[in-house]
Amino acid sequence: MKTVQFAAKFEFLDEIREYVGNIARESGFGDKDVYNIQLATDEAASNIIEHAYENITDGVLELACGVQGDIIKIILTDHGEAFDPSEIPLPDLKADLSDRKIGGLGIFLMRKLMDEVHYESRADKSNTLTLLKRKR
């Protein structure tokens, strides 16, 4: 599994999407899956940059990505505040326009688009978010 480091800034989201997209494409994932893998990874990374590294300007985001058999595995590691996506309430997708809350939507999309999402926060301030998707 190859690991790359990115400065935890939104302007690197393009490169992050390209990185996972290339690996997924080379491994035979179809266009729709590639798009969705990129979207889920973007949402995960955006969330880390926005929340785990809130008020931290020099944070580092480690991105590992590899394919084994039919499964692509993406691991995002940060050293910021613990931020467990499963603790974020699901957005109300039926709410009226005026009541519609946007918070949690990225997390919701990430969970919907991937087959599995795991989060682990260690005492040494290293948080890992693992995303898995099977080839259809």
Binding site: Y35, L39, D42, E43, G106
Partner: protein, 111 residues
């Protein structure tokens, strides 16, 4: 991401080209706000050359829809939504909040 604005008699068309993510969505939000601030509330977002949109872009659209529909003064409608983006909008429950049109001209004709 590139944004171009075309003014029509009954609405403004905001064309978004390229990729909208957390880095670029603020620019889209600003363009939509600028239209609202200029008294334009009937807005077509032309997505025909949009390659990618994350939830950050959805957030920008939602804010503009809220502001535009207030007092029944208008609405934001979407034209030529690429299939991947449409699927994500559907997943997010956003297709109920926006009328969508197959092409920009019929969207403009809606107003």
């Amino acid at each position: 991401m590139e944004i171009t604005v075309h003014e029509f008699k009954h609405c403004d068309m905001i064309k978004v080209k390229g990729r909208v993510d957390s880095a670029t969505a603020p620019k889209l939000a600003q363009a939509l706000e600028a239209a609202n601030d200029g008294g334009k509330y009937k807005l077509v977002v032309d997505m025909s050359e949009l390659e990618y949109m994350s939830s950050a872009g959805f957030r920008a659209l939602l804010g503009a829809q809220r502001n535009s529909r207030r007092y029944n003064r208008g609405e934001v409608i979407l034209a030529s939504v690429p299939s991947r983006i449409r699927e994500a909008l559907e997943l997010a429950g956003f297709t109920e909040l926006f009328k969508t049109f197959d092409d920009p001209l019929s969207a403009v004709g809606h107003f």
